[in-house]
């Protein structure tokens, strides 16, 4: 039966259902409610775990890493500056190939300081070697967190579940929280093969010479590519249990014969889907659920037949342009007749993404054919002349 829950509270329930033995976190808006809710579950005796309230995000990730190496399932969560502070540990965790799940409550990165949503933080660590999954709504965030543990443990790779800050974390929705039996049946107890154990001592994190570094990176890259199948399998298996399915690597909707597509990640999708229905726009909506591994084949299939594809993303590489836009452009360039790619950054630093966005975007690409990249909703009159 659905319950009205705030996204963060639902995520705390989802984490508890996965039975991590160690949770470590440092508060940062808009992740705070997640760890507050976990703390309360622990305090009430409803969730048995060692909750470590650390002194920084750097230690939050490090404590979780140490816990996994000592043989426990672990969890952490962060956002924005916290993700950047733990970036060095995130690379280290992934390079060591350990299973771990964390939530990124997506938020803009300072400066200028903003506590509101965009996806610059998780984009900044896209090359860390983590699986990155982006959720469209809170039900998906709950279900993806549970799936993430299975994926992580099957692949020996860490998974970052990206949830738009405030838009999802602080929004109440009617949500189905799975039963403990359901989750236990889906997610069996796990033993990490490289657990540190005095009975079978191993050394981990050693110095690797140039003779072996490329091989280590190759196997890490291969593991991420192979993870695509596990992401699909976990989504399918969860669908069989729960009746909810998110398309595995990507989700699409809209007419088969559409020649214009709009691609995005995260909660913008719901806005676009509603706008498409309301405005009866003949566009195909594509939502990447997996950003790492980047689903090249699935994307090529989803984009087949499109003449134009608009990529809307909540981040950018200043001086470069769209991050997701560039990757989509590269992936689709392999098609015989690739669509023209329009790359726009939208909803930066919590800028509202209204229902009217879809119509505005479709008008813009008619008005400005060939536009390579722009921040979509800039009000230039707010800027001094030299910055326009």
């Amino acid at each position: 039966m659905p319950q009205a829950l705030e996204g963060s509270q639902a995520l705390a329930y989802a984490v508890a259902l996965c039975r991590p033995q160690v949770v470590s976190a440092y508060p940062i808006t808009p992740q705070t409610h997640i760890v507050e809710n976990i703390s309360k579950l622990v305090a009430d005796g409803k969730f048995q775990c060692e909750f470590v309230s650390v002194e920084s995000e750097f230690s939050a990730a490090s404590v979780a890493f140490g816990a996994v190496m000592a043989g426990s399932r672990a969890y952490t969560a962060s956002a924005s500056q916290g993700i950047l502070l733990m970036a060095e540990v995130l690379y280290n965790i992934a390079g060591t190939r350990v299973p771990l799940v964390m939530t990124c409550a997506n938020r803009a990165v300072s400066a200028p300081l903003s506590i509101w949503n965009d996806q610059q933080d998780s984009m900044a660590v896209r090359d860390a070697g983590w699986i990155q999954l982006y959720c469209a709504d809170n039900q998906e965030a709950v279900d993806t967190t549970i799936q993430a543990y299975l994926i992580s443990e099957r692949c020996e790779l860490p998974v970052m579940v990206c949830v738009d800050g405030f838009t999802l974390t602080h929004t109440l929705e009617p949500l189905e929280i799975p039963s403990q039996e359901q989750v236990d049946g889906f997610l069996p107890p796990y033993h990490f093969a490289r657990t540190l154990d005095p009975a079978r001592p191993i050394s981990s994190g050693t110095l690797v010479s140039p003779d072996h570094f490329s091989e280590a990176r190759h196997s890490h890259h291969q593991a991420l590519l192979k993870a695509a199948a596990e992401i699909i399998a976990a989504d399918d298996a969860w669908a069989a249990l729960s009746g909810r399915h998110y398309g595995g690597l990507l989700q699409q909707e809209g007419p088969e014969d559409a020649t214009i597509g709009v691609l995005t990640m995260g909660s913008i999708f719901g806005t676009l889907a509603e706008a498409r229905e309301e405005g009866n726009h003949a566009v195909r909506l594509i939502r990447l659920r997996a950003f790492r591994p980047f689903p090249v084949d699935a994307l090529q299939a989803a984009a087949a037949g499109l003449k134009k594809l608009v990529v809307l993303e909540r981040a950018l590489s200043p001086g470069g342009g769209g991050i997701l836009g560039s990757e989509v452009r590269a992936a689709l360039s392999e098609l015989e007749q690739p669509p023209a790619i329009y790359s726009y950054a939208v909803g930066l630093g919590g800028r509202d993404v209204p229902l009217s966005l879809l119509g505005a975007v479709l008008e813009r690409i008619e008005e400005r054919p060939g536009e390579r990249f722009a921040i979509f909703d800039v009000e230039v009159e707010k800027l001094p002349h030299e910055d326009r």
Binding site: E55, S56, S59, G66, S72, E88, V89, H212
Partner: protein, 335 residues
């Protein structure tokens, strides 16, 4: 050993009694440390006393590098290295996991002075404040040796490193060595102590003591570095002893923030005996008023240590002429 059933007695050969019990070797020989490396010897001594039921979180540094060039490892215990500045936090995570699993394996954290005094200080402080059952060992060789002898906040005043070189305007490092053990003790942890690789009995005894304590404990081990200090490999122990005997490196124990034990110095040696033995203080022996000033300054620092920690030999160990290898309990502390 033989048992005589008729008289119900046992006979043991004297040679058997003299035979030393086998010590656990957690760090095997064959690693790649320099000749006379104080840190390697210190780690070996720590492992002898700690035993096999441990798990180690090692910070980046010489110890990590010379023990684990992949695919080799000198460790016979579960060991991991993550990063430079998170040994305290990795250890905290291990301890939390072992606690959740109901296991009693002791977690050790190993780091150099860079990883302890400087870049890893925050995660060390957090680990201690939260009361994790971890023995944190700092191998203090008084500079960033792994990157080629750069000054750390543990480098002694006036010492030469590649980033505190002497010259027309400078006499080596301008700042004082950070009093890390007092800062650590101020977390009111059950046990914080200093020791030196030149005093193996004291070192092992302190490790065994820390191992028995439930909660965060800290050991700072003075570990000479021949390459960084400008000494010959065979001089490491002699130089390490001089650091203690001059009062420049006080050997102390602090329990819940209170000074409870010191290694007394019967006849303190002049600091120049210690300084002239090392290349890193060579510039202090030139004919220059600044050099003479710094020598006086260093002697004053040693005298201050002796007074502050009550190191002057007295009381129970008067007959122990060298005054060495005894920890005098119940010392007092005024600073």
């Amino acid at each position: 050993m033989k048992r005589d059933e008729a008289s119900n007695s046992i006979a043991i050969k004297v040679a058997e009694l003299r035979r030393r019990p086998h010590r656990f070797q957690g760090l095997a020989s064959g690693h790649r440390a320099c000749l006379g490396c104080g840190e390697a010897l210190a780690a070996r001594l720590v492992m002898e006393a700690a035993g096999p039921d441990v798990m180690i979180a090692n910070a980046t540094g010489c110890l990590e590098i010379f023990t684990t060039p992949w695919p080799e490892s000198a460790w016979r215990v579960p060991w991991m290295h993550s990063l430079f500045e998170n040994a305290g936090a990795i250890a905290a995570g291990m301890e939390a996991a072992l606690k959740a699993q109901g296991k009693t394996t002791k977690v050790l954290s190993f780091a150099g002075d860079g990883g302890t005094f400087d870049i890893g200080f925050q995660s060390l402080s957090g680990m201690m404040e939260r009361g994790h059952n971890v023995l944190y060992v700092c191998y203090d060789n008084e500079a960033y040796m792994n990157t080629g002898i750069q000054r750390s906040s543990s480098t002694p005043h006036a010492a030469m490193t590649t980033t505190s070189p002497p010259g027309a305007e400078r006499m080596g490092k301008r700042h004082l060595k950070k009093d890390i053990v007092s800062i650590v003790a101020a977390h009111h942890i059950p046990y914080a102590a200093t020791t030196s690789v030149a005093f193996p009995t004291d070192l092992r005894k302190k490790v065994r003591r820390a191992m028995e304590i439930e909660g965060p404990t800290f050991l700072q081990i003075h570990s000479p570095c021949p390459l960084g200090w400008g000494t010959e490999g065979e001089e490491s122990i002699a130089v390490g002893r001089l650091a203690v005997e001059t009062g420049l490196f006080p050997i102390i124990e602090l329990e819940r923030g209170q000074l409870t034990g010191v290694l007394p110095i019967r006849e303190p040696k002049p600091v120049i005996d210690y300084l002239k033995a090392q290349g890193r203080f060579r510039h202090l022996f030139q004919d220059h008023y600044k050099a003479r000033e710094e020598l006086e300054h260093l002697q004053a620092l040693a005298d201050h240590n002796i007074a502050t920690f009550g190191l002057a030999g007295q009381g129970v160990d008067r007959h122990d002429s060298s005054g060495i290898n005894r920890v005098q309990r119940e010392g007092v502390r005024s600073a």
